[in-house]
Amino acid sequence: MRWTSFITFVVLTLATVQVQAQQYFFQTFGQREGIPVSTINDIAEDPLGFMWIATEGGGLARFDGVSSTVFTTENGLPSNYVTSLKSDDGDLLVGTDKGLTAYDGFNFQSRWELPSERVVAITQWNQDWIIVFRRSLWRIDENDNIQRLQIPGDPQLMSVDYTDQSLFIGASDGLWKFTNSEWVKWWDGSNARSIFIIDREDEESGVQVGASDDVYLVLRKGLAIPNLSTNDELGAHPDVRDIVLDSRGRWWYGSYQQGLRRYDSRLAEDFRGVKVGEEEGLVTPKIRCLHVSSDGRIWIGGLSGLSRLVEPDLYRYTSDDGLIDERVHAVTVSSRGNWWMGGLAGLSRKNKYGVIESFDEQSGLPRGLVFDVVESTNGRIYVATEAGLAQWTGSRFRTYGVHAGLGNAFIFDLEPLANGELAVATTSGIYIFADGQFETLDENLSTTAIPRIQEDQNGRLWALDIEGRILYRDNGSWEYAFEESEMLRIAPATFQVDAEGTLWMGTNGFGLWRLKEGRLDSLSSNEGLLSDNVWSLDVLNNDVWIGTERGIQNIIWNNGWEFGTRVSDARGFGELECNPHAVTRDEESVIFGTNQGVLVAPLRNVEERPSFGVIEITRLDLYFEQPESWGDWSDTIKPWSQVPLNLSLPYDQNYLRFSYSALQVADPLALQYEYRLSPLNKEWVDAEGRREAIYTSVPPGKYTFQVRGFDPLSGKVIESEEYHFVIRRPYWTTWWFYLTVFVVVAGSVYLYFRLRLKRIHQRLALEEERNDLERRALRLQMNPHFVFNALDAISGFIFKNEPKEAVKYLNKFAKLMRLMLESSREHMIPLHTEIQLLENYLALEKLRFSGEFDSEIVLDEEIDTYGLSLPSMMIQPHVENAILHGLRPKGGGKVTITFEMTDNGVRCVVEDDGIGRKKAAEIREKSGRKHRSLAGEISRRRVELFEKTYGGRSAVITEDLHDENGEASGTRVILQLPLQSTDEWDDD
């Protein structure tokens, strides 16, 4: 279509047009959805499908259809007065009153050195960005080279658009065209606030310019036509701020003063404007911007907020629209485009402009129910009424009935035949109506009621009898369509034979049937059919529309039954009862007659982009809030939604909330969402209207989260992308941790036991040493020298014939031996025993040495010699030393043994007045032996062990005694020993 030829036609055509009674529905969005300010300057859409809303003073809102995320100066915007937006695949350019910034899905950044002024418009022209400020124009090429374009006369700039060759700028003084670096004043006007190029590839297609007084079509330089409308009463459309073309090929004008106006660019012969203003429900009549989103919906932004036009995909005509009766039993579309709708009280006609006229008796239409209305192949409208057949003459109805040969027959159905005649199905068989006369087709059928007839492509007549048999007439005889018993069983209520010869049947209670080449297929309510009572049926190219007592449904045969997108029940129309056979279709719609008016299902435009929207995960929270950064757990943040991808969370970050939205759907709130976290959920979880999924305490593992939703408005299920994430095992369940723990525990156990063993060994060694020392002490005590010498001495008495002495000393010797042996078995012995031992020992030594020395045992009176014990075998060796090495070489002297109580034990002093240690050592030297005082050494070592075992202070101190001349006068050994109550001594 050439725009120029078409517009010529438009200008010449005069027609009386009324607004079509189409229902509009505007969704409005504002504070409730989180859009901060009601003045909207521009609207854009990002690659994911979020809508970006530029507000005057409230910043930039990212809108998901239900709620918004707002970006302001705090997020890096130069100003909260956002004036214009332009989105391409990777970037959103944001113009504000303080200059331009770019958002790449993550951050705002100023890329170029441009004025910090109010940005008026942004566009992309041949890969270059064109930035329009009020007083300057800039062009930025791919390599970020900035060029200022100078418009002659320096007008105030307002809008921008382009063709392949040229850039158009709307300015305060009209329209400027920039071609090959040259500016041309293309059209003189005022305040060109919007520009719309009809065809960007065709320079001559024309430019629509929204100026302050009206919209002009600028055809070429200097030639412009104001106001495109062919319907004059709409008048001018001043101050249009934006013009868009929608996916159905319609232009939408958004005016700051007069709301919306719509033109259908495809209607070459009739270019009528359709006003959509406040009366039609528009809540934002002061329009500043329009946007067609990728799902084909019109977004409107203006002074009083944001709205979206939802064009219904089902609508009704009722008595409000002028229908004479809402109980519509017949409907047909004439070749002129008129809709004829027959009801109980008469007939209504809607012309293609939407004007409805009604006819009743006054127009000659017989009273009563209209059963059918058809147009014959020669263009005549026939109406089947209770009182016979009525023919529309152009102004009135003429009735043919009893007198025309119909008799008492009651007409059910009319079928225009290819030859121009009319087949009439009646209670008394089938008549052919031609030249004003009825003739019975077949006498055999004259007693059969035929509710429905149809002629197929091959000129064969098909009929449905009242019993439910479907017959076709082949060469003058009737045949059953298929097995009679089967037909009687399913009881067809209506049928249609399509162009391919397929027989489609709606039944009473048995659903929808199809017969093709002997094969029967059926569809029932169990399988998703709206109802098993299928009363009206319209089929074209396997696109099946059915009417039931519960509404309409679209079904598609594609080698199997599929369901179409629309069901009236789900559209909010409730249960509309359709009337038998009352259905027809034209190029744009399928039209049903129901008990509540005419229900229209517009057919989808094949050019219309089918977009059913997407479900996007819009946010992920941990413990109901955003972590400061996802950086530790995710390597990729999804641009625009800012949701982290490839998430790998630690075990304790397992409290997740997914928020999701359906983007680019008619009504996100109407969606029925289900979500699933595999493998935690085996089945889909019904979200019950919530737009979030919360998972608490998710155990470690690999997960896939997905949301899907059934959109009742499109009839489609849309799914989100799969969202994969991982919750890592806590480190204490990983193999390396087990290993570490094992090593540590094993190591500890090993060390513990080693230490213990060491201690035990130490103790054993200590004990062994003690035992060893005790053994050695015993050996010292039981000095064989002494023993054998003592025995030898005693034997001396025998030879000297002194038996008394011999026996006395033998007894002493025996007693000493016993005491020594007994004390050797104990670690501690009572003091009393020790003293006895010493006394016996001293007596024997005196015997050996013929009483050459004296001895004395001095005992502190306080000492309880029976009750207290001291270490055994400690004292006697020192006494022996004193005698043998101190007194014997001297040939006499005295040894004194003193016991004294001290604070923590007993002190035993062995003192002699012998030759002293020095001299004794000399004597031993002479005998060739190195001196080793075994008694002293063993005592000292034992004393050390006492300290370790019993604590307290133990000591062996040997002192040399000197007389007044400094000569050696003896030796003193001081033994500081532990003392314990004897009673406590049971073991150890």
């Binding site: 001396g796 040939g891 004597i923 060739g928």
Partner: protein, 252 residues
Amino acid sequence: MLKALIIDDEENSRAALKGKLDLFCPDIRPIQEAGDIESAIAEIVSGKPDVMFLDVKLAGETGFELLERIDADGIDWNGEVIFTTAHDEFALKAIKFSALDYLLKPIDAEELVKAVRKVQQINSVEPKAGISVLLENYRSTTDSPKKIVIPSSDGMHIIKVSDILRCESSSNYTQFVLRTGKNLLASKTLKEFDNMLSDHNFERIHKSHLVNMDYVKRYVQSDGGYVIMEDDSRIPVANRKKEHLMTLLKSL
């Protein structure tokens, strides 16, 4: 008749020995007594006893000192010495190295008789090898005796301990192999020498072999294990001794 002298600082002890000699050794006449070295010297000079029962330990003195005095003073005395002691390991060891006789107190009558009989059989002209070795070892500043008296069938042999390469058991006798290559058959069991020499780096590596570790060249593990001595002789090592030997060799 043999003249005897009992030297002991304990009166009862002297009485006991005198009583026993009177009773069991009628050939010993007369029996003199001394309580210290001075009186003993006097008795020796005057009485020229044939046998001297010498207590190792005297009050403030030792029996060895008496022998030294005799030697030092050049006293002409050629009698035998029998040491008496209750229990003096050090002295006993020295006595054993010199192959002199000794009696343990209280003195057993049979031992006494045996010792006395031995004295009676001894050819009194024989040089007193034992006493000289005893004195030499006694005078030595080191703890270990340097020489040992080995009684053999042909008399007493004085040998440096360090000359002994090894000893080999030969029934009740012990074969000494010396570094000089000479062999010597001693009339004592290997066990006795083992006891004496174990303190002098001798090791009983086998039931029949006592080797001087100073002259062990190396240990060979094959053929059941043996050591090679300085003279390249191979001495087998008993299984239960191997480990001990290894540690010894390592510490060398």
